[in-house]
């Protein structure tokens, strides 16, 4: 029995102090070490002081979903033994150019603190952070045990930073760079991996645009026997891909290069053969420039695939049918709308296990039809397990979405983007209120909702009334009045993140969320009717909120055109650029 363990009454039991429950610290430590979920750990830490302390000493991974909600000092003070950090920065709408450059979310201040507090840091996963080459070099030089770097939608660095990582991270197991605003200076960053580096398990550079040294890549793949994820970029051709596959038949996830070449038949056989040896492949992605000419080389592995990402392949319905008819185990599918409704019918026919579908537009500004309501209905009919949909379309009807809700009542993520702002039901010309009403009524597990099309306050009334598990809401070009937003803010208890643009919601709507903001991660409102006065009022009422206004050049000073509100224990930002005003 650990003498240091103090008898503490478990909170809420109202137990007689004489009958205290003692858990030895060692016992708690061992038990907690088995708990990996952040949510569970957060719950555990709330039980009592002892549990809080044991938990915090044993936590290995921390997820900071808003880098300004807390400071690095506070994090490191509470959790001394962290080995893995996930850090997210800018508001999501920065992906769509709504946040000015130099807004912030610099990773360097975090690295500075981590260098002393977490010298044994192994993993860093960044999303929407500003990362410079210097920061990457700092990371590479100051953390000897560093193993895994993942950057999604970050910006500010170049291939020079990657060179630093490759050079100095002797134990690197993961390098995952996706959709970043990277200055691709080309060069040979891959060649900077030393000959004796054999630990790589994950290598993803699919969204880098410049050429890489194939020899360096080949050598790397050949000596990293534990490589399980390899996603190359568009500069790697089919022939080269074949060579890589022969060296790494153990791959679990593969991102192809370009399919552009016309191979002679001998090479095609070789490639098919290489694929057929990859018995572990469950994820395939990229498929740049794929056509029916060479798509068949992947057929040998289709039967095992659970995730197929064709979102960079402008293929048509026939090509899709060919692949899907061989991919009966698909759970997740991403496609481009060139597959059309006919392609989606193929999805419905061939993929009974499908749980997630994302349909991206090939050209958002082209009015040609892409996919429509009938494609969506076809998928819902054939895929009853569908719970995640992201669907870009030019037109939709209420009836279709109502049918979809009936066919798939288990939606957790419903993101519908009718690409023309405020587009009504194209058959009845009515607003799309009933469509989203049906979704929130039927899909009680709904966590994430993105609405679009012509919507009145009624749609929001439905959301407020029924979407009791809603955590993330994205709204654009919708609503009639403040009431719309008020319904949501008052009705949805579990809201975490709300992002609104171009809606007629004003100060009253903003202030209606007072009770919510404490438990919400953030609120974004841009191009609405919010004024500076309204923001000031909000800031006065809630001292633990940062109410930030991003000033426009030459805008009306009374209006708060872009408002970002988030809870924080770190106080107002110390690094805010001049155009960000904290109230």
């Amino acid at each position: 029995m650990d003498p240091a363990a103090t008898g503490v009454t478990v909170a809420g039991t109202g137990a007689d102090p004489a009958k205290t429950t003692m858990f030895p610290e060692e016992f708690l430590k061992r038990t907690f070490s088995l708990i990996n979920s952040d949510k569970d750990r957060n719950s555990v830490s709330l039980v009592c002081k002892d549990w809080y302390n044991v938990e915090r000493m044993s936590r290995r991974h921390v997820s900071i979903r808003n880098c300004y909600s807390v400071s690095p000092e506070i994090v490191t003070a509470r959790f001394p033994a962290i080995r893995s950090v996930t850090l997210k920065g800018k508001p999501r709408f920065s992906d769509f150019n709504l946040v000015p450059d130099d807004w912030g979310a610099d990773v360097q201040p975090w690295l500075n603190v981590f260098a002393t507090a977490y010298p044994f840091l192994e993993e860093l996963r960044l999303k929407r952070m500003a990362v410079s080459d210097e920061s990457l070099e700092f990371l590479a030089l100051n953390f000897d045990d560093f193993k895994a770097l993942s950057m999604l939608s970050c910006e500010g660095f170049s291939t020079l930073g990657l060179e630093a990582i490759a050079t100095h991270c002797k134990n690197l197991t993961e390098l995952d760079i996706q959709e970043n605003g990277i200055d691709d200076l080309g060069g040979d960053w891959l060649s900077y991996f030393p000959e004796n580096l054999t630990s790589l398990e994950v290598l993803n550079f699919s969204t880098l645009t410049s050429e890489v040294s194939f020899d360096a890549l080949e050598s790397l793949v050949s000596r990293c026997k534990s490589l399980r994820v390899l996603k190359v970029n568009r500069k790697i051709n089919l022939e080269q891909l074949g060579k890589l596959l022969v060296l790494a038949p153990q791959l679990i996830e593969l991102g192809t290069g370009t399919f552009l070449e016309e191979l002679v038949s001998g090479s095609v056989n070789g490639l098919e053969n290489a694929f057929s040896k990859c018995g572990n492949l469950v994820t395939l992605s990229s498929f740049w420039d794929a056509t029916l000419l060479h798509l068949p080389v992947v057929y040998p592995v289709c039967g095992n695939l659970t995730f197929l990402n064709l979102s960079y392949a402008n293929i048509g319905p026939d090509e899709l049918e060919q692949i899907l008819s061989r991919s009966k185990r698909l759970v997740r599918l991403w496609v481009v709308d060139t597959v059309g409704d006919k392609g989606l019918e193929a999805v419905g026919s061939h993929c009974p296990l499908l749980e997630e579908l994302r349909v991206f537009p090939v050209d958002p500004f082209d009015q040609q039809l892409g996919v429509t309501d009938s494609g969506l209905v076809a998928v819902s009919k054939g895929c009853p397990k569908l719970h995640y949909i992201l669907y870009f379309c030019q037109r939709m009807t209420n009836a279709a979405v109502i049918t979809v809700a009936q066919n798939c009542p288990n939606f957790t993520h419903f993101r519908l983007c009718i690409m023309n702002p405020s587009e009504p039901d194209y058959l009845t010309n009515e607003p799309m209120d009933e469509a989203f009403g049906a979704i929130v009524k039927t899909c009680t597990k709904l966590q994430r909702l993105s609405v679009s099309g012509l919507l009145t306050d009624l749609a929001f009334e439905y959301i407020g009334r029924y979407a009791k598990n809603l955590e993330t809401l994205s709204v654009a070009f919708a609503g009639d009045s403040d009431l719309g937003m008020e319904y949501v803010m008052r009705g949805c208890p579990k809201l975490k993140r709300v992002e609104i643009r171009d809606c007629p919601f004003g100060d009253s709507a903003l202030l209606s969320g007072l009770t919510q903001y404490e438990s919400m991660r953030s609120l974004w409102m841009s191009d609405c009717n919010v004024t500076m006065d309204g923001c000031k009022k909000l800031a006065e009422e809630m001292s633990w909120l940062n109410v930030e206004v991003i000033k426009d050049e030459g805008g009306d000073d009374r209006l708060a055109n872009k408002v970002y509100v988030y809870r924080t224990v770190a106080g107002p930002r110390k690094d805010a650029p001049p155009f960000v005003v904290t109230l």
Partner: protein, 294 residues
């Protein structure tokens, strides 16, 4: 493959009843009153539209729904800035404000066939083709990488196997005798034969075993020519191309501009197969030059 349509015909408001007219005004003016934030071009002094909140109780007719901000402005015919998208393929990130009140109609081009059939199906819509697609910052919500990638893919697909002048890309196929696959080169990115030949050498070097020397800038009437040499096999490769007339010519025989104007595809062939090409090429060149001088 879908072709990006840059401009659309717009048929102006009909003399139909007020309801339809109002509807169209919403439809066509839907983005007018967006106070789009110009992040990159920073338009100072852009007028923000009046923000009138229109609230209606009871039964809400769509036409009077006021779902658009400033709907009342539209009905009252207030002047609105018309955000006009010049180039459908551009990355969203800029909104073009015309600065003056523009008439709603734009230069006529053939309407999309799909939209025409839609008209008959939807009697409320009098327009036979959509209004010019307005570019709103950050809409639809797609990340830049995807937008940029898709734009490039579109261009490539359109030019598959074809020449396209002046569009910034001039892809032609290059085959090499004995190589397992063809390559494509964009002739627009080279400015002379030397650049082209070194690029091709790099591309096809894996197929020639052993060293080969880079070749001769042999000038012939001010032009340069290149050869790929495979010393191990002791044979010489020459670069040839098929021109618009279907004739196979030696690369380097005509001025560079004429070459890229007429080259349909290229072939790296063994020089033994290329006998007899040169004189014809010269002749053609002479003929052309004469024709130009007339």
């Amino acid at each position: 493959m879908s072709v990006s349509i840059k401009e659309h015909d717009y048929i102006g408001l009909s003399e139909a009843n007020m309801e339809k007219q109002a509807y169209e005004m919403i439809y066509n003016n839907k983005d007018l009153n967006l106070k789009a934030t110009e992040l990159r071009l920073g338009l100072p002094g852009s007028e923000s539209p009046e923000r009138e909140v229109v609230v209606h109780g009871g039964a809400i007719k769509i036409m009077m729904a006021g779902a658009k901000r400033g709907f009342s402005d539209a009905i009252n015919g207030g002047s609105r800035k018309w955000a006009y998208a010049g180039d459908g393929g551009q990355e969203v990130g800029s909104v073009k404000h015309s600065g003056q009140e523009t008439d709603v109609s734009v230069s006529p081009v053939p309407a999309l066939p799909e939209r025409k059939t839609q008209v008959s199906a939807k009697p409320n819509r009098q327009i036979s083709s959509p209004a010019p697609k307005q570019q709103v910052v950050g809409w639809p919500p797609i990340r830049s990488f995807r937008k940029n990638t898709m734009a490039v893919s579109q261009t490539k697909n359109e030019e598959e196997g074809d020449q396209k002048m002046g569009s910034g890309c001039l892809y032609v196929k290059v085959s090499m005798d004995g190589a397992p696959y063809l390559r494509k080169v964009d002739l627009e990115i080279y400015s002379c034969y030397l650049d082209l030949s070194s690029a091709l050498e790099k591309m096809f070097s894996c197929f020639t075993i052993g060293q080969y020397g880079s070749h001769g800038v042999r000038t012939r009437e001010g032009l340069s020519e290149s050869r790929l040499m495979d010393l191990l096999h002791g044979s010489e490769y020459v670069l040839t191309y098929e021109d618009k007339d279907g004739d196979w010519m030696l690369v380097g025989d005509v001025p560079w501009d004429m070459f890229i104007a007429s080259c349909k595809r290229m072939r790296i062939m063994k020089s033994s197969d290329a006998i007899g090409l040169a004189p014809r090429a010269m002749e053609k060149c002479r003929n052309r030059t004469e024709a130009d001088n007339e």
